[in-house]
């Protein structure tokens, strides 16, 4: 599912100013599509995570940047491990 900016704000229940902050912090990096931002389900789930880190867990702005940066590396690593496991050793 591809969402435009306004649809994305409605779905995630965040306002324009918050979205601008998140984009400038690069917590959210929507895919560019035909010179327009395109938000996906992955972005919706990520926005929900950011909101919970902030509101529910009391993580401040600096903490969220650190957490997301580490998470992105962790997921990159997890994918690499997963793909390594898909390979059968050459016989």
């Amino acid at each position: 599912m591809i969402l435009k900016r306004t649809e994305f704000m409605a779905r995630t229940n965040i306002d324009e100013q918050t979205l601008e902050t998140w984009l400038s912090e690069q917590w959210l990096v929507p895919v560019e599509e035909a010179s327009d931002e395109a938000f996906t389900d992955a972005d919706i789930a990520r926005a929900q995570l950011i909101r919970e880190l902030n509101h529910d867990l009391g993580v401040n702005q600096a903490g969220i940047s650190v957490a997301l940066h580490l998470l992105d590396q962790l997921h990159g690593l997890r994918r690499a491990v997963y793909e390594l496991r898909q390979i059968k050793p050459r016989g």
């Binding site: 990096v29 929507p30 789930a45 880190l53 867990l57 997921h75 990159g76 898909q86 390979i87």
Partner: protein, 305 residues
């Protein structure tokens, strides 16, 4: 037994709102599923502390719970299965699902040769795909009843104009699939062709029916043949045979031709149907008028009150 929300969060009954919030935060930081991408159990435990927190952070609900009016999940809203961010990232996600702007390879970019390993992985996967067996192709084939009983070879016309001779094993039944090795789509590489899968429908026969491995046939006989007996030409799946009718065979009598069933396994059962001559036979009628049966059977005695 439902767990007590105070126990779940590890606070006392007299805990303040601040105590509860900080207890919840402390646990949530450890248990949030997105902070534990590989731990399936984290989600369960996170749900548990979330429910406890929902209850205890709401003064009204907390009071009701303390008073015993609602139970520990009394006010839990029906929750839809939530998709966490981890479901869209890393090992859990397909490439199409993830947003490629997030995942980063910097965690292993300092490991010598890791790029080479990943490149090799992709090359190997592409190679595997190329050399995979060609796809199987499905066909459908209607088979005459007797060919299915005795076995036969039938020609199948393929969409590309070629033909295959399909060997039909004796005794095949509707719904069975005959696999023709190597008659499917060719591989894109060296994987060999796929198979042709031919699904079989056995057509009905006007006279024969099949019950397990036995064949059933209804055979018309004249009054004379039924009464006096004698050999009668009878069709079987493997051509006609002479069937000896015992004298005094009634309508409905079932005779058995051993070994004349499906694929030599079962028998052919022949059920007799006694029929009057097609056209009225004056001689027969004259005889019957003067005929007095030797034994007066009451043919309809089962209907007597």
């Amino acid at each position: 037994m439902l767990k007590n929300p105070y126990e779940i969060l590890g606070v006392s009954k007299s805990a303040s709102a601040d105590d509860i919030r900080s207890a919840y935060r402390k646990l949530a930081k450890k248990l949030h599923p997105d902070l534990n991408p590989g731990d399936k159990k984290a989600e369960e435990r996170f749900k548990e502390i979330s429910v406890a927190n929902d209850l205890l952070s709401d003064n009204e609900k907390r009071a009701k719970f303390d008073a015993g009016v609602i139970d520990a999940v009394g006010n839990e809203k029906p929750q839809q299965q939530r998709q966490y961010y981890r479901d869209y990232a890393g090992a859990g996600a397909g490439r199409g699902k993830a947003n490629p702007n997030y995942e980063s390879a910097s965690a292993f970019s300092d490991l010598d040769g890791m790029d080479d390993i990943m490149a090799q992985i992709y090359a190997q996967q592409a190679h595997a795909r190329r050399n995979a067996k060609g796809t199987d192709v499905r066909y459908h084939l209607n088979i005459p009843f007797l060919d299915a009983v005795t076995g036969a070879t039938q020609r199948l016309n393929l969409p590309d104009g070629t033909t295959i001779d399909v060997k039909i094993p004796a005794g095949i039944e509707t719904g069975r699939i005959i696999r023709l090795k190597g008659k499917g789509q060719p591989s894109q590489g060296a994987g060999g062709s796929g198979d042709a899968l031919v699904e079989v429908t056995v057509l009905a026969h006007p006279h024969f029916t099949r019950v397990g491995d036995d064949l059933l046939l209804e055979l018309s006989v004249s009054i004379k043949e039924a009464a006096l007996g004698g050999p009668v030409k009878t069709p079987t799946a493997a051509g006609s045979v002479m069937l000896n009718i015992p004298a005094g065979s009634n309508a409905g009598t079932q005779l058995r031709l051993k070994g004349k069933g499906v694929a030599g396994r079962g028998d052919q059962l022949v059920k007799l149907r006694v029929v009057l001559p097609q056209r009225s036979d004056q001689q027969l009628n004259d005889f019957l008028k003067t005929w007095t049966p030797a034994f007066e059977d009451d043919l309809r005695k089962e209907f007597q009150p």
